[in-house]
Point group: C2
Chain length 110, copies 2
DNA sequence: AATCTATATCGTAATATTGCAATATTAAAC
DNA sequence: GTTTAATATTGCAATATTACGATATAGATT
């Protein structure tokens, strides 16, 4: 044992968990914040921005990509990473829904 | 090695990562959805709702509690778990900010 | 084509997570 | 006080994650 029992949960629950999990590491939060900060998604300096070795950063980028949070376009010998607004909207909408549902039932709660 | 280098990132980045990480498992997503669904936070039946053994559910609840997503009030010999709107608002606001920042800079991106 | 630059992959060690059986704890019910 | 019910903790095995050095790959530059 030790592996997550994904098959027991709904597809939507797994989808949200996958996105949340990808953002469940400070380095990956830092990456998306950096991608937000820079004007365009000109790339190549993500490694220099982070206090981690190049292979480690590459691995984090891969995980963000697998989760659909970023996408990478090849641009010469470097790669242009960008945020994927579709996925980020999905997680934003999810938490918006959670918060608004929670607000409605606030009264009969501890 | 193998441990996350939290000390290299900002407090805010770590805070967001902690909350996201806690929601990075379908069982824990299912738990918060269940807590949203039930009218009040009457408790005791979270274990029955999930396809996992009682110790496993207890562990997931503990992690959600550590992340500040739920809070548990003792109620007789059972425990009343509730969602913590403050933490959920924090993550909602964070992703709202990400999405709106992303919208602004959409033009000069790939 | 040799070299440089940027990124990815491999291999591996350290650590963390997931899941559960067994057991402990604690308060209610009897 | 003993039993019952609900939840937590312990201990452990299986698996996943994190991090990085070494190496591979691939396009740019010379």
């Amino acid at each position: 044992m030790g592996a997550t029992k994904t098959e027991h949960f709904t597809e939507k629950q797994n989808a949200i968990a996958t996105i949340a999990k990808a953002l469940g590491h400070p380095a990956r939060v830092a990456i998306i914040e950096y991608l937000l900060k820079v004007d365009s998604c000109i790339c190549g300096d993500i490694v220099n921005e982070l206090p981690l070795a190049q292979p480690t950063v590459s691995q984090h980028l891969k995980e963000l990509k697998n989760a659909g949070i970023i996408k990478g376009d090849i641009d010469g010998n470097s790669i242009c990473y960008c945020l994927d607004d579709k996925t980020l909207d999905k997680i934003r909408n999810y938490f918006s829904g959670v918060s608004s549902k929670l607000e409605k039932k606030k009264s009969n709660c501890c």
